[in-house]
Protein backbone atom coordinates (compact mmCIF):
# COMPACT_ATOMS: atom_id res chain seq x y z
CA UNK A 1 0.00 0.00 0.00
CA UNK A 2 1.26 3.40 -1.00
CA UNK A 3 0.07 6.23 1.23
CA UNK A 4 0.40 9.58 -0.47
CA UNK A 5 0.28 11.54 2.76
CA UNK A 6 0.47 14.92 1.07
CA UNK A 7 1.00 16.54 -2.29
CA UNK A 8 3.09 19.30 -0.71
CA UNK A 9 6.76 19.13 -1.70
CA UNK A 10 9.68 21.58 -1.79
CA UNK A 11 10.80 20.07 -5.10
CA UNK A 12 8.95 20.50 -8.38
CA UNK A 13 10.37 17.68 -10.55
CA UNK A 14 8.99 17.77 -14.10
CA UNK A 15 8.15 14.04 -13.93
CA UNK A 16 6.29 14.13 -10.61
CA UNK A 17 3.86 11.22 -10.24
CA UNK A 18 1.33 13.40 -8.42
CA UNK A 19 -1.71 14.46 -10.47
CA UNK A 20 -1.85 17.66 -12.49
CA UNK A 21 -4.42 18.99 -10.01
CA UNK A 22 -2.67 18.95 -6.64
CA UNK A 23 -4.52 18.80 -3.32
CA UNK A 24 -3.77 21.37 -0.63
CA UNK A 25 -3.05 20.82 3.05
CA UNK A 26 -6.71 21.44 4.00
CA UNK A 27 -7.80 18.36 2.04
CA UNK A 28 -5.40 15.98 3.81
CA UNK A 29 -6.52 13.15 6.10
CA UNK A 30 -5.69 13.67 9.76
CA UNK A 31 -3.44 11.48 11.92
CA UNK A 32 -6.29 9.47 13.45
CA UNK A 33 -7.82 8.62 10.08
CA UNK A 34 -4.50 7.45 8.64
CA UNK A 35 -3.97 5.37 11.76
CA UNK A 36 -7.36 3.71 11.30
CA UNK A 37 -6.57 3.05 7.64
CA UNK A 38 -3.21 1.44 8.56
CA UNK A 39 -5.00 -0.97 10.87
CA UNK A 40 -7.65 -1.73 8.24
CA UNK A 41 -4.90 -2.36 5.71
CA UNK A 42 -3.05 -4.78 7.99
CA UNK A 43 -6.30 -6.67 8.66
CA UNK A 44 -6.85 -6.87 4.90
CA UNK A 45 -3.43 -8.54 4.44
CA UNK A 46 -1.24 -5.58 3.53
CA UNK A 47 2.37 -6.24 4.58
CA UNK A 48 4.29 -3.28 3.22
CA UNK A 49 3.43 0.37 3.74
CA UNK A 50 5.14 3.06 1.71
CA UNK A 51 4.81 6.53 3.22
CA UNK A 52 5.08 8.85 0.27
CA UNK A 53 3.88 12.15 -1.09
CA UNK A 54 4.68 14.77 -2.25
CA UNK A 55 7.32 14.99 0.39
CA UNK A 56 6.02 13.11 3.45
CA UNK A 57 8.25 15.21 5.72
CA UNK A 58 5.93 18.12 4.85
CA UNK A 59 3.58 16.51 7.38
CA UNK A 60 4.32 17.50 10.94
CA UNK A 61 2.82 14.24 12.20
CA UNK A 62 5.07 11.96 10.14
CA UNK A 63 6.77 10.58 13.26
CA UNK A 64 3.37 9.71 14.77
CA UNK A 65 2.27 8.07 11.51
CA UNK A 66 5.35 5.80 11.58
CA UNK A 67 4.43 4.74 15.10
CA UNK A 68 0.80 4.08 14.13
CA UNK A 69 1.85 2.00 11.14
CA UNK A 70 4.26 -0.16 13.14
CA UNK A 71 1.58 -0.55 15.79
CA UNK A 72 -0.70 -1.91 13.05
CA UNK A 73 2.00 -4.49 12.22
CA UNK A 74 3.08 -3.05 8.87
CA UNK A 75 6.60 -2.90 7.45
CA UNK A 76 7.20 0.84 7.20
CA UNK A 77 9.13 2.33 4.31
CA UNK A 78 9.64 6.07 4.03
CA UNK A 79 9.92 7.45 0.50
CA UNK A 80 11.54 10.85 0.74
CA UNK A 81 13.57 13.45 -1.10
CA UNK A 82 15.31 14.13 2.20
CA UNK A 83 14.39 17.80 2.02
CA UNK A 84 12.68 18.89 5.23
CA UNK A 85 14.02 16.02 7.30
CA UNK A 86 16.41 16.69 10.14
CA UNK A 87 18.52 14.36 12.24
CA UNK A 88 16.09 14.84 15.14
CA UNK A 89 13.06 13.92 13.05
CA UNK A 90 14.86 10.93 11.57
CA UNK A 91 15.88 9.70 15.01
CA UNK A 92 12.31 10.06 16.25
CA UNK A 93 11.05 7.96 13.33
CA UNK A 94 13.72 5.33 13.90
CA UNK A 95 12.73 5.19 17.57
CA UNK A 96 9.12 4.76 16.42
CA UNK A 97 10.06 1.71 14.35
CA UNK A 98 10.83 2.99 10.85
CA UNK A 99 12.06 -0.06 8.91
CA UNK A 100 13.58 1.38 5.76
CA UNK A 101 14.21 4.59 3.86
CA UNK A 102 14.01 5.10 0.13
CA UNK A 103 15.82 8.28 -0.78
CA UNK A 104 15.13 9.80 -4.17
CA UNK A 105 18.02 11.02 -6.27
CA UNK A 106 17.55 13.57 -9.05
CA UNK A 107 21.19 13.38 -10.15
CA UNK A 108 24.74 12.88 -8.86
CA UNK A 109 25.83 16.37 -9.87
CA UNK A 110 24.35 19.42 -8.18
CA UNK A 111 23.77 21.16 -11.52
CA UNK A 112 21.57 18.41 -12.92
CA UNK A 113 19.92 17.48 -9.61
CA UNK A 114 18.93 21.03 -8.70
CA UNK A 115 17.73 21.82 -12.23
CA UNK A 116 15.47 18.76 -12.20
CA UNK A 117 14.25 19.36 -8.65
CA UNK A 118 13.72 23.04 -9.34
CA UNK A 119 15.27 23.78 -5.94
CA UNK A 120 18.65 25.47 -5.61
CA UNK A 121 20.77 23.86 -2.90
CA UNK A 122 18.55 20.78 -2.73
CA UNK A 123 21.35 18.41 -3.71
CA UNK A 124 23.64 19.61 -0.92
CA UNK A 125 20.86 19.20 1.64
CA UNK A 126 20.12 15.71 0.35
CA UNK A 127 23.78 14.70 0.68
CA UNK A 128 23.85 15.92 4.27
CA UNK A 129 20.78 13.88 5.11
CA UNK A 130 22.13 10.80 3.29
CA UNK A 131 25.20 10.90 5.54
CA UNK A 132 22.99 11.07 8.61
CA UNK A 133 20.92 8.08 7.41
CA UNK A 134 24.11 6.12 6.77
CA UNK A 135 25.44 6.95 10.24
CA UNK A 136 22.24 5.60 11.84
CA UNK A 137 22.47 2.24 10.05
CA UNK A 138 18.87 2.25 8.90
CA UNK A 139 18.56 0.27 5.66
CA UNK A 140 18.67 2.55 2.65
CA UNK A 141 17.54 2.24 -0.95
CA UNK A 142 18.46 4.92 -3.41
CA UNK A 143 15.75 5.64 -5.96
CA UNK A 144 17.44 7.19 -8.97
CA UNK A 145 14.99 8.53 -11.51
CA UNK A 146 16.76 8.51 -14.86
CA UNK A 147 16.10 10.23 -18.16
CA UNK A 148 17.88 11.91 -21.05
CA UNK A 149 19.67 14.39 -18.77
CA UNK A 150 21.23 11.95 -16.30
CA UNK A 151 21.21 8.46 -17.80
CA UNK A 152 24.79 8.95 -18.97
CA UNK A 153 25.74 9.31 -15.27
CA UNK A 154 24.42 5.82 -14.47
CA UNK A 155 27.78 4.24 -13.53
CA UNK A 156 28.52 7.19 -11.22
CA UNK A 157 25.00 6.91 -9.78
CA UNK A 158 25.49 3.26 -8.86
CA UNK A 159 28.91 4.02 -7.36
CA UNK A 160 27.30 6.85 -5.39
CA UNK A 161 24.74 4.41 -3.91
CA UNK A 162 27.50 2.00 -2.91
CA UNK A 163 29.55 4.77 -1.32
CA UNK A 164 26.54 5.78 0.77
CA UNK A 165 26.21 2.22 2.01
CA UNK A 166 22.83 1.67 0.34
CA UNK A 167 21.74 -1.97 0.15
CA UNK A 168 19.67 -1.37 -2.96
CA UNK A 169 19.42 1.05 -5.82
CA UNK A 170 16.39 1.34 -8.02
CA UNK A 171 17.32 2.72 -11.39
CA UNK A 172 13.91 3.84 -12.56
CA UNK A 173 13.61 5.42 -15.97
CA UNK A 174 10.96 8.12 -16.06
CA UNK A 175 7.48 6.94 -16.89
CA UNK A 176 5.31 9.23 -18.88
CA UNK A 177 2.11 10.07 -17.05
CA UNK A 178 0.77 13.42 -15.89
CA UNK A 179 3.70 15.82 -15.45
CA UNK A 180 6.11 13.37 -17.06
CA UNK A 181 3.97 13.14 -20.16
CA UNK A 182 3.93 16.94 -20.45
CA UNK A 183 7.75 16.80 -20.50
CA UNK A 184 8.17 13.59 -22.47
CA UNK A 185 10.05 15.12 -25.39
CA UNK A 186 12.61 16.75 -23.08
CA UNK A 187 13.02 13.69 -20.81
CA UNK A 188 12.90 10.75 -23.23
CA UNK A 189 16.30 9.02 -23.27
CA UNK A 190 17.64 7.97 -26.66
CA UNK A 191 17.79 4.34 -27.68
CA UNK A 192 21.60 4.52 -27.58
CA UNK A 193 21.47 5.80 -24.00
CA UNK A 194 19.15 2.96 -22.98
CA UNK A 195 21.31 0.30 -24.66
CA UNK A 196 24.39 1.68 -22.90
CA UNK A 197 22.49 1.77 -19.58
CA UNK A 198 21.65 -1.93 -19.91
CA UNK A 199 25.36 -2.72 -20.38
CA UNK A 200 26.28 -0.58 -17.36
CA UNK A 201 23.67 -2.36 -15.21
CA UNK A 202 24.85 -5.83 -16.28
CA UNK A 203 28.45 -5.01 -15.46
CA UNK A 204 27.61 -3.30 -12.16
CA UNK A 205 25.46 -6.24 -11.05
CA UNK A 206 28.45 -8.53 -11.48
CA UNK A 207 30.77 -6.09 -9.71
CA UNK A 208 28.49 -5.47 -6.71
CA UNK A 209 26.84 -8.89 -6.29
CA UNK A 210 26.03 -9.59 -2.67
CA UNK A 211 26.75 -5.99 -1.64
CA UNK A 212 24.39 -3.78 -3.63
CA UNK A 213 21.14 -4.97 -5.21
CA UNK A 214 20.48 -3.18 -8.50
CA UNK A 215 16.93 -3.02 -9.82
CA UNK A 216 16.51 -1.54 -13.26
CA UNK A 217 13.26 -0.33 -14.81
CA UNK A 218 13.96 0.47 -18.47
CA UNK A 219 11.72 2.94 -20.31
CA UNK A 220 8.82 1.00 -21.75
CA UNK A 221 8.46 3.00 -24.96
CA UNK A 222 11.42 1.09 -26.43
CA UNK A 223 10.03 -2.29 -25.35
CA UNK A 224 8.10 -4.69 -27.57
CA UNK A 225 5.60 -5.60 -24.89
CA UNK A 226 3.94 -3.52 -22.18
CA UNK A 227 4.98 -3.55 -18.56
CA UNK A 228 2.94 -5.67 -16.16
CA UNK A 229 1.57 -2.56 -14.54
CA UNK A 230 1.01 -2.97 -10.76
CA UNK A 231 1.54 -6.72 -11.29
CA UNK A 232 -2.04 -6.73 -12.54
CA UNK A 233 -4.80 -4.26 -11.73
CA UNK A 234 -6.25 -4.74 -8.26
CA UNK A 235 -4.08 -7.78 -7.57
CA UNK A 236 -1.21 -6.75 -5.30
CA UNK A 237 -1.29 -3.07 -4.45
CA UNK A 238 -3.19 0.18 -4.20
CA UNK A 239 -2.67 3.87 -3.49
CA UNK A 240 -4.41 6.19 -1.11
CA UNK A 241 -4.29 9.87 -2.01
CA UNK A 242 -3.91 12.71 0.54
CA UNK A 243 -7.70 13.09 0.82
CA UNK A 244 -8.29 9.36 1.30
CA UNK A 245 -9.32 8.37 -2.21
CA UNK A 246 -8.37 4.74 -2.84
CA UNK A 247 -6.86 4.18 -6.28
CA UNK A 248 -5.76 0.97 -8.03
CA UNK A 249 -2.60 2.85 -9.10
CA UNK A 250 -1.24 6.37 -8.74
CA UNK A 251 -2.50 7.51 -12.14
CA UNK A 252 -5.89 5.77 -12.13
CA UNK A 253 -7.76 9.03 -11.53
CA UNK A 254 -6.83 10.04 -15.10
CA UNK A 255 -9.42 7.51 -16.33
CA UNK A 256 -12.67 9.50 -16.33
CA UNK A 257 -15.01 6.50 -16.50
CA UNK A 258 -13.85 5.11 -13.15
CA UNK A 259 -15.67 5.75 -9.88
CA UNK A 260 -13.50 5.98 -6.80
CA UNK A 261 -14.30 5.65 -3.14
CA UNK A 262 -12.75 7.29 -0.11
CA UNK A 263 -11.72 5.74 3.18
CA UNK A 264 -14.23 8.04 4.91
CA UNK A 265 -17.09 6.45 2.96
CA UNK A 266 -16.40 2.71 2.99
CA UNK A 267 -14.25 0.06 4.65
CA UNK A 268 -10.93 -0.48 2.91
CA UNK A 269 -11.66 -4.20 2.45
CA UNK A 270 -14.98 -3.43 0.72
CA UNK A 271 -13.28 -0.91 -1.57
CA UNK A 272 -10.52 -3.39 -2.44
CA UNK A 273 -12.77 -6.40 -3.11
CA UNK A 274 -15.93 -4.77 -4.46
CA UNK A 275 -15.11 -1.18 -5.38
CA UNK A 276 -16.11 -0.38 -8.97
CA UNK A 277 -12.68 1.05 -9.82
CA UNK A 278 -10.93 -2.12 -8.63
CA UNK A 279 -13.37 -4.43 -10.40
CA UNK A 280 -13.16 -2.49 -13.66
CA UNK A 281 -9.84 -3.98 -14.86
CA UNK A 282 -9.20 -6.83 -12.45
CA UNK A 283 -8.60 -10.18 -14.11
CA UNK A 284 -9.08 -10.73 -17.85
CA UNK A 285 -12.79 -10.15 -18.61
CA UNK A 286 -12.25 -6.50 -19.56
CA UNK A 287 -9.50 -7.26 -22.08
CA UNK A 288 -9.72 -6.58 -25.80
CA UNK A 289 -9.51 -9.81 -27.85
CA UNK A 290 -5.90 -9.03 -28.79
CA UNK A 291 -4.90 -9.33 -25.11
CA UNK A 292 -7.36 -12.04 -24.10
CA UNK A 293 -6.04 -14.43 -26.75
CA UNK A 294 -2.38 -13.43 -26.30
CA UNK A 295 0.21 -15.91 -25.00
CA UNK A 296 1.51 -13.12 -22.74
CA UNK A 297 -1.90 -12.46 -21.19
CA UNK A 298 -0.86 -13.66 -17.73
CA UNK A 299 2.61 -12.10 -17.97
CA UNK A 300 1.71 -8.53 -18.96
CA UNK A 301 -1.82 -8.56 -17.48
CA UNK A 302 -2.86 -6.35 -20.39
CA UNK A 303 -0.26 -3.66 -19.68
CA UNK A 304 -1.19 -0.24 -18.39
CA UNK A 305 -4.71 1.18 -18.54
CA UNK A 306 -3.56 4.71 -17.73
CA UNK A 307 -1.11 4.62 -20.60
CA UNK A 308 -3.84 3.45 -22.96
CA UNK A 309 -5.99 6.33 -21.72
CA UNK A 310 -3.25 8.96 -21.95
CA UNK A 311 -2.07 8.06 -25.45
CA UNK A 312 -5.22 6.81 -27.20
CA UNK A 313 -8.02 8.42 -25.21
CA UNK A 314 -9.49 4.96 -24.57
CA UNK A 315 -8.65 3.22 -21.30
CA UNK A 316 -9.88 -0.11 -22.77
CA UNK A 317 -7.48 -0.05 -25.70
CA UNK A 318 -4.44 -2.32 -26.05
CA UNK A 319 -1.50 -0.64 -24.28
CA UNK A 320 0.07 1.35 -27.16
CA UNK A 321 3.57 0.18 -26.20
CA UNK A 322 2.63 -3.35 -27.32
CA UNK A 323 3.79 -4.44 -30.80
CA UNK A 324 0.30 -5.86 -31.32
CA UNK A 325 -1.41 -2.57 -30.45
CA UNK A 326 -3.25 -0.78 -33.27
CA UNK A 327 -1.94 2.47 -31.72
CA UNK A 328 1.76 1.51 -31.52
CA UNK A 329 2.42 4.19 -34.16
CA UNK A 330 1.64 6.87 -31.57
CA UNK A 331 4.56 5.73 -29.40
CA UNK A 332 6.89 5.45 -32.39
CA UNK A 333 6.03 9.01 -33.46
CA UNK A 334 6.71 10.28 -29.93
CA UNK A 335 10.10 8.56 -29.96
CA UNK A 336 10.91 10.06 -33.36
CA UNK A 337 9.92 13.55 -32.21
CA UNK A 338 11.95 13.24 -29.01
CA UNK A 339 15.04 12.03 -30.87
CA UNK A 340 15.66 15.56 -32.13
CA UNK A 341 15.80 17.05 -28.61
CA UNK A 342 19.21 17.80 -27.12
CA UNK A 343 20.80 17.72 -23.68
CA UNK A 344 20.48 21.50 -23.61
CA UNK A 345 16.74 21.24 -23.79
CA UNK A 346 15.72 21.80 -20.18
CA UNK A 347 12.68 23.96 -20.86
CA UNK A 348 10.70 21.81 -18.45
CA UNK A 349 7.16 22.38 -17.36
CA UNK A 350 7.64 22.00 -13.61
CA UNK A 351 4.91 20.64 -11.39
CA UNK A 352 3.19 23.34 -9.40
Amino acid sequence: MLAELTHRCPLSCPYCSNPLELLGREAELDTATWSRVFHEAAALGVLQLHLSGGEPASRRDLEALVLAARDAGLYVNLITSGIGLTAARLDAMIANGLDHIQLSLQGVRAAVADTIGGYAGGFARKLALADIIASRGVPLTLNAVMHRHNLDDLAATIAFAARLGARRIEVACVQFYGWGLKNQAALQPTRAQVDQAKRVVASARAEWQGRLVIDFVPPDYYADFPKACMGGWGSTGFNITPDGTVLPCHAAATIPSLQFQRVADAALADIWYDGPAFRAYRGTDWMPDTCKSCARRDIDHGGCRCQAMALTGDANAVDPVCRHAPARGIVDRMLADASTATLDDTAFIYRR
Binding site: A43, L44, G45, L47, Q48, G73, Y75, N77, D99, H100, Q102, G137, V138, P139, T141, R167, R168, Q209, G210, R211, L212, V213
Partner: protein, 94 residues
Protein backbone atom coordinates in the same frame (compact mmCIF):
# COMPACT_ATOMS: atom_id res chain seq x y z
CA UNK B 1 31.00 -23.51 6.39
CA UNK B 2 32.05 -21.50 9.37
CA UNK B 3 30.24 -18.36 8.28
CA UNK B 4 27.55 -17.10 10.61
CA UNK B 5 24.30 -15.97 8.96
CA UNK B 6 22.11 -13.31 10.53
CA UNK B 7 19.14 -11.19 9.57
CA UNK B 8 20.28 -7.59 9.08
CA UNK B 9 18.46 -4.60 10.46
CA UNK B 10 15.28 -3.97 8.51
CA UNK B 11 14.67 -7.67 7.79
CA UNK B 12 12.32 -9.62 10.01
CA UNK B 13 10.00 -12.60 10.11
CA UNK B 14 6.36 -11.58 10.28
CA UNK B 15 3.57 -13.87 11.36
CA UNK B 16 0.99 -13.18 8.65
CA UNK B 17 -2.27 -14.03 10.37
CA UNK B 18 -4.34 -13.15 7.31
CA UNK B 19 -2.63 -15.72 5.07
CA UNK B 20 -1.69 -18.06 7.93
CA UNK B 21 1.99 -18.21 6.91
CA UNK B 22 5.29 -16.73 8.07
CA UNK B 23 6.64 -14.03 5.77
CA UNK B 24 10.15 -12.62 5.55
CA UNK B 25 9.82 -8.85 5.31
CA UNK B 26 12.64 -6.63 4.06
CA UNK B 27 13.08 -3.46 2.07
CA UNK B 28 10.38 -3.66 -0.58
CA UNK B 29 10.38 -7.43 -0.38
CA UNK B 30 7.89 -9.86 1.15
CA UNK B 31 8.77 -13.55 0.79
CA UNK B 32 6.27 -16.14 1.91
CA UNK B 33 8.26 -18.81 3.74
CA UNK B 34 7.55 -22.45 3.08
CA UNK B 35 8.16 -25.05 5.81
CA UNK B 36 11.78 -25.55 4.78
CA UNK B 37 12.60 -21.84 4.65
CA UNK B 38 10.89 -21.23 7.98
CA UNK B 39 12.78 -24.13 9.58
CA UNK B 40 16.14 -22.83 8.33
CA UNK B 41 15.50 -19.25 9.44
CA UNK B 42 14.34 -20.48 12.85
CA UNK B 43 17.93 -21.67 13.36
CA UNK B 44 19.49 -18.37 12.23
CA UNK B 45 20.27 -16.55 15.46
CA UNK B 46 23.39 -14.58 14.59
CA UNK B 47 25.60 -16.99 16.55
CA UNK B 48 25.32 -20.42 14.89
CA UNK B 49 27.51 -21.26 11.89
CA UNK B 50 26.06 -22.73 8.71
CA UNK B 51 27.63 -26.05 9.76
CA UNK B 52 25.93 -25.94 13.11
CA UNK B 53 22.57 -25.04 11.55
CA UNK B 54 22.92 -27.95 9.14
CA UNK B 55 23.75 -30.38 11.96
CA UNK B 56 20.76 -29.27 13.98
CA UNK B 57 18.33 -29.55 11.05
CA UNK B 58 19.69 -32.99 10.04
CA UNK B 59 19.10 -34.19 13.61
CA UNK B 60 15.73 -32.47 13.94
CA UNK B 61 14.33 -33.95 10.71
CA UNK B 62 16.34 -37.17 10.82
CA UNK B 63 17.49 -36.47 7.26
CA UNK B 64 20.76 -37.06 5.36
CA UNK B 65 23.22 -34.29 6.26
CA UNK B 66 24.44 -33.81 2.65
CA UNK B 67 20.94 -33.18 1.40
CA UNK B 68 20.20 -30.71 4.20
CA UNK B 69 23.54 -28.94 3.63
CA UNK B 70 22.66 -28.26 -0.02
CA UNK B 71 19.21 -26.91 0.84
CA UNK B 72 20.53 -24.68 3.62
CA UNK B 73 23.32 -23.18 1.55
CA UNK B 74 21.15 -22.56 -1.52
CA UNK B 75 18.45 -20.89 0.57
CA UNK B 76 20.82 -18.69 2.58
CA UNK B 77 22.95 -17.72 -0.44
CA UNK B 78 19.86 -16.63 -2.32
CA UNK B 79 18.82 -14.38 0.56
CA UNK B 80 22.33 -12.97 0.86
CA UNK B 81 22.42 -11.96 -2.81
CA UNK B 82 19.16 -10.08 -2.20
CA UNK B 83 20.76 -8.42 0.88
CA UNK B 84 18.10 -10.01 3.08
CA UNK B 85 20.80 -11.89 5.03
CA UNK B 86 24.32 -11.09 6.17
CA UNK B 87 27.25 -13.45 6.62
CA UNK B 88 29.90 -12.86 9.22
CA UNK B 89 33.00 -14.99 9.66
CA UNK B 90 32.95 -16.95 12.90
CA UNK B 91 34.71 -15.15 15.71
CA UNK B 92 37.01 -17.16 17.96
CA UNK B 93 35.75 -17.51 21.52
CA UNK B 94 32.68 -15.62 20.38
Amino acid sequence: MTRVPSLPRGVRIHDDRVRGVPVLLGPERALILDDIGAAILAEVDGARTIDSITDRLAALYNAPRDEIAGDVLAFLDDLQVQRLLDYAPVTPHG
